[in-house]
Amino acid sequence: MKFSVSRSTLAGYLQSVLQVSPSKPALPILSNIMIEALEQKVKISATDLDISITATFECEVSKKGVVAAPARILYDIVRELPESEIKFELSGSKLEMKAPNGTYKIATVEVDDYPTLPAINLKKQIKLAGSELMNMISHTTFACSTDETRPALNGVLWQTKSDRMVMVATDGHRLSRYTVANTKLKGLHDDVIVPPQALNLLTKLMTDTSKEIGIIFGENDLAFNLGDITLTTRLIEGPYPNYDQVIPKQSTKTMRVNREELASAVRRVSILSSALTHQVRFSISGSKLKLSSANADIGGEATETLACDFQGDPIELGYKASYISDILNKVDSEETLFELDSPISAGVIYGADKNKEDYICLIMPLRLAE
């Protein structure tokens, strides 16, 4: 194997694929990346067994070949080298890097030991607007569960069957659902459950959201094609719970409140909330929303009163502060609407100037102590 590539090109791609190279790998071999020199192009890939990233770039290849080498060390060397062409050559079992200022050699590992990466059939790809995908991901992944006892909830449900394309995430306590019009994927594939780590990585790799992104559904995996970079992720097995039936169809109370005012008040009041439950109590009546918290351990109490537009009988309920904050961060409108029913039923939150169908969040209260 023999090729040469500019330092900056390689450094950029190494940085991209290193996103999946785990610092504490499940298998020692996973701390390596695979380098394949093909016809006038080089492919570098890394995987943590669930998510794989491959970068492909054009360069001068004088001899084809494939090796696996320690990812971090390779990146550390390339990053520190001054800008120039670097000549790579496999000599024996060592990978040699020649730069104008010197030569570096590192031991490679058996390529056969490296996990086989999922094959991607680019012919089957369907292109979606990058901005659309970005929006769906950034509004949902925060609500995923990290509880391994319910694996389906560890992922984002992506539904593409109907006229609306939907992404849903929930940890059983709060839920977020983002939908957009769906023309290109309609009816092509069943619902999939995607690990949020893969989606979050995708948004990091998506440097230009005006570009289109290719989607390739595999049997147990899903690939995103960004042109020079592809990200493949294993899918999570279902079934996903029937989230639709937990979305309240009607409400007896509604509250309209300034989003930024509420978000900052919740942040302040929650400082004195219980260290165990982080509960902030919402007492709503007339045109007033009173937030309060108490922490018996440090002997602290806080209250703040905000103006709101409230319809319905007075209500008191408790919410975990971070659940409310997370949602208020995502509902990007000046005013937020809360649709409520009882202190033990799910509340629906969405932007007051937005279409409720596009983006809603659900939050379950904390049962108040007597």
Binding site: H173, L276, R367
Partner: protein
């Protein structure tokens, strides 16, 4: 007869109405030995020693009162005990059974007050301040308690009654066996004042020596010592020693009810042999998880975190913890979490000598619980959860009534010897 005398002196000298709290220290008499004698009446009246083995390592775990005139006491090497009392019957005993009787005892005590702090396998502190109205005087309550223990367990105990834990603990040992002693601070000073400081609870020979170096011999000397001089030479222990001498103690009776402040419940076990058997370790984790879960439910708690403690053959100890998505008191949830926390190399490459399971960040059941979107809305899961709750409480009922070994997971049943 002695008991009645005490009672009379107590009632003439002590004014209950002035007491802020009424604390009992219940101390079983020669607990292990008494259980063996109860089980085998032929042993009655004979010197009985529980402990062993009869070699250089064995020690006395408990001994009947018949051995006491020979100078036998618990903790003594068994060979020395036998040389002093050659006729003693030595029984190796069953720790399992003693543990069961102990749990029966603690259950009985909670019938008199919810504020019960099990202090060791055979002693407990009770805060009965709130039970006075129901039971009349403390002495009447103590007599009722002794009668219940005698009727239900066929065992005797000695009870110390006072205003705090230190004084009641000191009181219970004044009359043994089958005693009942009331002390207020005046009687406490009279009884212990002239005695050497080593008589005090928690002052061993070594600390007593440190105190004697200051020219302090008796409890009275200690009471009148200069507090600054005590703390400057003994440190924080000086404050404790002074409190012990004066019989001052504000500490609460820490019942399971008040355990919310402690914020954790744990069980651990040291294996007879370091284990490289993964299946065995998993069973041990399951058993520990079940015990932790049962105590959680008894106290009405839910755990928010589960931790494990693992000590290797080479005495390296690690702990790992995980926060549960939903607070739980279900052994199934605690076990499945604990099992995942056990690093893969333990039980395969690394031999394990100790395992512990801890439920932490406890919250009181029924207060400020994060509600779930799915459980509260889907009928099926609600039905499933209810069924599971019913099953767990049925198991609890059987175990409360017949002991923890009456009903257990099949994987925890030991194979009978072939």
């Amino acid at each position: 007869m002695r008991q009645e005398q005490t009672e009379q002196s107590a009632e003439t000298q002590v004014d209950w109405a002035l007491w802020k709290r009424v604390i009992f220290h219940v101390d079983m008499d020669a607990f292990f030995a008494s259980i063996e004698i109860r089980n085998n009446p032929e042993l009655r009246g004979k010197p009985v020693i529980v402990g062993g083995p009869i070699d250089s390592r064995g020690v006395v775990a408990a001994c009947s009162y018949e051995t006491r005139p020979f100078g036998v006491h618990s903790g003594m090497p068994i060979r020395q005990a036998l040389s002093r009392c050659p006729d003693a019957v030595v029984i190796s005993g069953s720790l399992k059974q003693y543990g069961y009787v102990s749990s029966q005892l603690m259950n009985l005590l909670t019938k008199f007050t919810s504020q019960v702090e099990p202090f060791s396998v055979d002693e407990a502190f009770l805060d009965v301040t709130g039970s006075m109205r129901l039971h009349g005087s403390p002495v009447q309550l103590a007599k009722a308690l002794k009668k219940t223990i005698a009727d239900e367990l066929e065992l005797t105990c000695s009870i110390g009654i006072s205003e705090n834990k230190i004084m009641s603990k000191m009181a219970s040992k004044l009359q043994k066996p089958d005693g009942l002693t009331v002390l207020d601070s005046k009687l406490y000073a009279e009884r212990f004042g002239p005695k050497p400081v080593s008589v005090l609870w928690g002052i061993g020979e070594k600390s007593a020596e440190g105190i004697r170096k200051l020219g302090i011999e008796t409890v009275n000397d200690l009471v009148s010592a200069n507090p600054q001089a005590l703390t400057s030479s003994l440190g924080r222990f000086g404050i404790r020693a002074l409190a012990l001498a004066k019989g001052i103690d504000d500490s609460e009776v820490l019942s399971l009810e008040s355990l919310a402040d402690e914020k954790s419940i744990s069980h651990e076990t040291t294996f007879p042999h370091d284990s490289l058997d993964k299946a065995y370790l998993k069973r041990a984790l399951l058993s520990l998880s079940e015990r932790v879960a049962r105590r959680l439910r008894k106290g009405g708690f839910l755990a928010r975190t589960v931790s494990i403690k693992v000590r290797s053959k080479s005495f390296k100890t690690i702990t790992r913890d995980k926060t549960l998505a939903t607070p739980s008191s279900d052994a199934k949830m605690i076990y499945s979490t604990a099992r995942k926390l056990l690093p893969a190399e333990y039980g395969t490459d690394v031999a394990v000598r100790l395992l512990g399971v801890k439920a932490g960040n406890l919250i009181k059941q029924g207060c400020e619980v994060q509600l779930s979107l799915f459980d509260s809305n889907t009928e099926d899961s609600e039905k499933g959860a209810r069924k599971r709750t019913e099953l767990i409480s049925a198991i609890d009922y059987v175990q409360d009534k017949y002991g923890e070994s009456a009903l257990k997971k099949a994987s925890l049943v030991e194979r009978p010897p072939e």
